[in-house]
Amino acid sequence: MYRYIVRRLLWACVLFIAVTMFTYVIFFVIPADPAVLAAGRSARPADVERARIYLGLNHSVPYQYGLFLKRLVVDQSLGRSFVNRRDVDSMISEAAPVTASLVFGGAILWMLLAVPIGVLSALRPRSLLDRSAMVFVLIGISLPVVWIGLVLQFLFGFKWGILPNAGYCNVFNPPTGATCGGPVDWFTHLILPWTTFAILFTAIYVRMVRSNTMDTLGEDYVRTARAKGAPPNQVLRKHVLRNAMLPVVTMLGMDIGIALGGAIFTEYIFGLPGLGRLAVQSVQNFDLPTIMGVVVFSTLCIIVFNLIVDVLYAFIDPRIRLE
C-alpha cells in the first residue's frame, strides 16, 4: 500500500510539472502582450516597456517558468496578479470555497437522486418507472447546462421570485458591504445553481447505476444468496449494492476532482465568484499568474481525488491489491 502511494505521488509530481509547463508554453504562444494590457489604454511604448519589466516579462520563458516553480516550492506563493497586483493565493482561497460549495452540494444532490432511481429502474426493468427514468436521462444529457440555468433563473428567480437570482453568500464572516450572509442565505442562493449543475450528472449517473445494478443482479453470487434463503432487501443491501456501486465510486471521485477546477457555466450564469469565473476572467485578461494559480489548484484537486478514489477502491474491493 505505501509503495503504491509513494509511486503515485512521484507520478503526480511529473504530471504537475507537465501540466504547468504546458500551460506556460500555451500562454506565451498566444500573440498578445500582457504588458500592453497592464500598461493601460493610453500607454506609450516606454510605459509598456516599464510594465514589462515590472511584471517580469522581459526574461525568457524558461526563466520565468523556473521562477514560478521556485516561488511555488520555496515561498509557497503563487505570485501576484498582473491585473490588480493582488496575491493570487488569496484570490484562490476566496474563490475555492464557492466552487467547493457548489460542487459538493451538487454531488450530494445528484447522488441522492441518481442512486435510488437507478436501483429502482434496475429492479423493475421495462416498467413505467424505468421507461420514464430513461426518458429523463435522455433529456438531462441533451439539454445544455447554460439553457437549463437560464430557464431556471428566469422562472424561479425572475418570474415567480421564489429563489434568489444570482450571487453568493458566505456562510461565515460575510465581508463588509455584503448584501447577504449566513447559512440560510447561503443555502437559498445555491439551490438553483445546485440544480443546474446536478441535472447532467444525475442523468449520467442514473444510467450508470442502473446498468451496474442490472449486471450485478445477474451475477452468480446473487443467485447463491437467494438460494440460501435471503430475503430480497438483504440480497439487495448486502450483495448487490456494494458490488454495483464500486465503479460509481470511482467515477464520482473523478468527476468531483474535475469539477473542483471550476464549474464554469454554472458559476457564470449565477454570478458565483468561484474558480470557474476566476479562470475565465484571468484568461480574458491575460493574467498569467492567476491562470497558473487556477491550473495548479485544479491539477492538485484532480490528483488528490484520483488518489483517494484508488485507495478507497482498494479498501472496498479486497481483490484489488495495490502492488
Binding site: 447463491t224 438460494a227 434463503g229 430475503p231 448486502k238 450483495h239 479486497p318 481483490r319
Partner: protein, 340 residues
C-alpha cells in the same frame, strides 16, 4: 423398493419463459422422485432443461417464468408455497450449489461472513455461535487451517477449495436435500475426484438426499443410485444406475454412451449423434429426438411418447416406441462397442 413417501416428488413439471422471440418451453413435463438419503443423477446436454428443473423447484427462476405441475417436499407443494415459506426452505431444508465456484461467492465479503449469513438466516442464535458453526463446517469439508482461513476472501482460495466452501455453506443447516448443479465441471480431474468423494462422504454422514446434475455419465455412474436422462426439456429414460447402464433403452442414451471416448477400452470410432439439439422455441412434433434418431419411423413424428416400463422391471422407464427386441439388440451393440 420402498413404499414410504418419497422425500421430494416432482410431478409433470413445466416451466416456460416468455422471451422476445416467443415462448421457450425449458421444462416440458418432467417427473421424478427422490427418497431420503439417496442420490439422483440428472444427465443431459446443455439446453435439455436439467438446471431449469431444479431452479424451478427452488423457486429461483426470473419473474418471466410460467410454472405448472407439482414439486412436493414431504407432501408440501413448493410451487404453490408463499415467498416467505420458500425463503425458509431455501438453504435450510433444500440447499443448492452451483457450477462455477469462482463466481458463486461474493467477492467483497469474507467467507466466514457468508457462512454466518447462511446460518443466521435460519437460526435464531448469536453471531459468535454462528461463527463457531461456520468454523466446524469448514473443517468438515477439509479446508486446512480453517481458523485462519475463515477470515479470508474468496479470491484467496483455489477453485477446489471454493467449491468445498460452497458445499460447507450448503450443508451448514443440515438440509434434507442437496441439489448440486454441475459441481465439478469447472474443476480439474483430481480436484473433481476429491469433491465427488467429499459429497459422497458427507451424504453418508448427514443422511442428505442428493440431486446431482451433470452432463458427465462417469460422474453419475460413480455417485448416483438412480438416473434421469433428459433431452429437449423432457425425460427420455429413468432408472436405477446399474440397470440403466446395463440395459439402456432409449436411442438417445445409446447415442450418449456410444459417443463417449473410453479410458478402459479401445474404441475404433466414436458413435456420433448427427445434428444438434432442437430449439425449444419450436421443438419437433412427436418425439423430440426424431430428427436425429437413426431408428425413427412414422409414429415417432405423430405421437408424443410417454414413459413406459421396461419389461421385467418396476423402476426403469423409457419413452420410445421401438419394440423391445430391437432395443435389446441395439443396447447390446452399444455396450459391446464400449467394452471391446
Amino acid at each position: 423398493m420402498t413404499t414410504a413417501e418419497p422425500l421430494l416428488d416432482v410431478r409433470d413439471l413445466r416451466t416456460a419463459f416468455l422471451t422476445d422471440d416467443g415462448i421457450v418451453g425449458a421444462v416440458d413435463g418432467v417427473s421424478f422422485s427422490l427418497d431420503a438419503g439417496r442420490t439422483l443423477g440428472i444427465v443431459g446436454e446443455s439446453g435439455c432443461g436439467k438446471s431449469v428443473t431444479n431452479l424451478t423447484i427452488m423457486g429461483l427462476n426470473p419473474k418471466t417464468a410460467r410454472v405448472s405441475g407439482q414439486a412436493l417436499l414431504r407432501g408440501e407443494d413448493l410451487l404453490q408455497a408463499a415467498p416467505r415459506r420458500l425463503r425458509e426452505i431455501r438453504g435450510n431444508e433444500i440447499a443448492m450449489i452451483f457450477q462455477d465456484p469462482m463466481t458463486s461467492l461474493n467477492p467483497v465479503h469474507r467467507i466466514g461472513d457468508q457462512l454466518v449469513e447462511a446460518v443466521l438466516l435460519h437460526n435464531d442464535i448469536s453471531h459468535a455461535e454462528a461463527k463457531a458453526r461456520a468454523l466446524e463446517s469448514l473443517e468438515e469439508v477439509g479446508i486446512p487451517q480453517a481458523a485462519r482461513r475463515i477470515d479470508d476472501y474468496p479470491h484467496q482460495f483455489s477453485g477446489g477449495m471454493r467449491q468445498r466452501v460452497m458445499i460447507a455453506m450448503a450443508l451448514i443447516n443440515d438440509p434434507d436435500v442437496l441439489i448440486a448443479d454441475e459441481p465439478t465441471t469447472a474443476l480439474d480431474v483430481t480436484t473433481q475426484a476429491q469433491i465427488i468423494s467429499l459429497i459422497a462422504q458427507l451424504q453418508k454422514e448427514h443422511g442428505t438426499a442428493v440431486i446431482i446434475i451433470t452432463h458427465d455419465l462417469g460422474v453419475v455412474a460413480e455417485i448416483a443410485d438412480e438416473i434421469v436422462v433428459m433431452y429437449a426439456a423432457r425425460v427420455v429414460e429413468r432408472g436405477p444406475v446399474d440397470e440403466l447402464f446395463e440395459r439402456p433403452s432409449h436411442p438417445y442414451t445409446w447415442g450418449l454412451l456410444g459417443s463417449l471416448p473410453r479410458l478402459e477400452a479401445d474404441v475404433e470410432r466414436l458413435a456420433q449423434i448427427p445434428g444438434q439439439p432442437p430449439s425449444l422455441l419450436a421443438p419437433p412434433r412427436g418425439c423430440r429426438f426424431n430428427p436425429r434418431c437413426p431408428y425413427a419411423f412414422q409414429r415417432c413424428h405423430d405421437e408424443d411418447p410417454t414413459l413406459i416400463k421396461v419389461s421385467g422391471t418396476d423402476d426403469h422407464v423409457q419413452a420410445c416406441f421401438l419394440d423391445e427386441g430391437t432395443k435389446a439388440r441395439e443396447a447390446a451393440k452399444t455396450l459391446s462397442a464400449a467394452a471391446a
